[in-house]
């Protein structure tokens, strides 16, 4: 039997064209299936199981009561802070943000740890308005520095209203 010498073996060529073809097909497949989901964030809320106590707090800063009145379709009719009407548009939420800052004095004030914001929303009020109100009470986003300044962390809901 005559064995072929190693030097005489033919070189196995790797076919590059189909390989590139498959790589491109995989790339296109993953690109078409890619779903870019916007990042999500949380707003923590404080909901005591037992009835809230009415005992006065030791701190001088008052608790903040934010009201959201809506029509039957859930559209915001009135945003209130401690009974004062702030309006029902985007500017109303910015006013709320400014008023909260006035109440706490300055961001990071250690006394704000003991302050609670109570949200009193109508049953029908669309959830997006509540989230917006929570956001404007919890802080401010600086677009220039991209930094978040925190105001108040404790948020709670008032007892729910009955449907209209």
């Amino acid at each position: 039997m005559k064995l072929a010498k190693p030097s005489s073996l033919s070189k196995v060529e790797i076919p590059m064209a189909p390989m590139i073809d498959i790589v491109f097909q995989l790339l296109i497949f993953f690109m078409l299936n890619l779903k870019i989901v916007a990042p999500e964030g949380n707003f923590n809320i404080n909901l005591p199981v037992s009835a809230p106590s009415n005992a006065p707090s030791d701190v001088n800063l008052p608790d903040i009561k934010v009201g959201l009145r809506s029509d039957r379709d859930g559209n915001l009719v009135q945003l209130t802070l401690g009974g004062n009407n702030l309006g029902n548009d985007n500017a109303a939420f910015e006013r709320l943000n400014a008023e909260v800052l006035k109440i706490i004095g300055r961001p990071g004030n250690p006394l704000t740890k003991d302050i609670e914001v109570e949200l009193d929303a109508d049953f029908e009020c669309q959830y997006k308005y509540v989230v917006k109100a929570i956001s404007r009470c919890t802080g401010r986003f600086d677009q220039r520095t991209q930094a978040v300044t925190r105001y108040i962390e404790k948020i709670k809901f008032a007892p729910p209203h009955k449907p209209k």
Binding site: E40, A121, K132, P163
Partner: protein
């Protein structure tokens, strides 16, 4: 890129302060509360529902599911785990707030005490 517990039918409210948490809750229960939608994303019906394990569940009928979640968590992590579980509420931006409060109350009645409201991070 994709949160597997998030339901695409729920159109979360958008807010600039909604940044992803730096520390993820140790134990969490995600509840998706929104409207049934067609393929184009339009609402089908006006009553919101909870999307739970490929089923539509009303808040009033959620107790058995919450109990089973509780049992599974307790079996895996121990008896006192429920106090450490954060219920992440992913509610549609148009859901009436009163119904979200009812959902929270239902969870409280089943022993859950920590709640977070989810929103989409809004870039400007």
């Amino acid at each position: 890129m994709k949160n597997t517990k998030a339901d695409e039918r729920v159109k979360l409210p958008k807010d600039m302060l909604a940044k992803p948490p730096e520390v993820k809750p140790e134990h969490e229960l995600v509840l998706n509360y929104g409207f049934a939608r067609d393929k184009a994303g339009n609402k089908v019906g006006n009553a919101p529902t909870i999307f739970y394990n490929e089923r539509y569940v009303e808040v009033a009928q959620l107790t058995p599911d919450l109990e089973s979640e509780k049992r599974v968590m307790e079996a895996i992590h121990g008896k006192d785990v429920i106090g450490k579980v954060t219920v992440l509420i992913r509610a549609d931006s148009e859901v009436p707030t009163g119904l979200v409060q009812q959902l929270i109350k239902k969870c409280q009645d089943n022993g859950f005490t920590k709640f977070s409201l989810r929103a989409t991070s809004e870039e400007k």
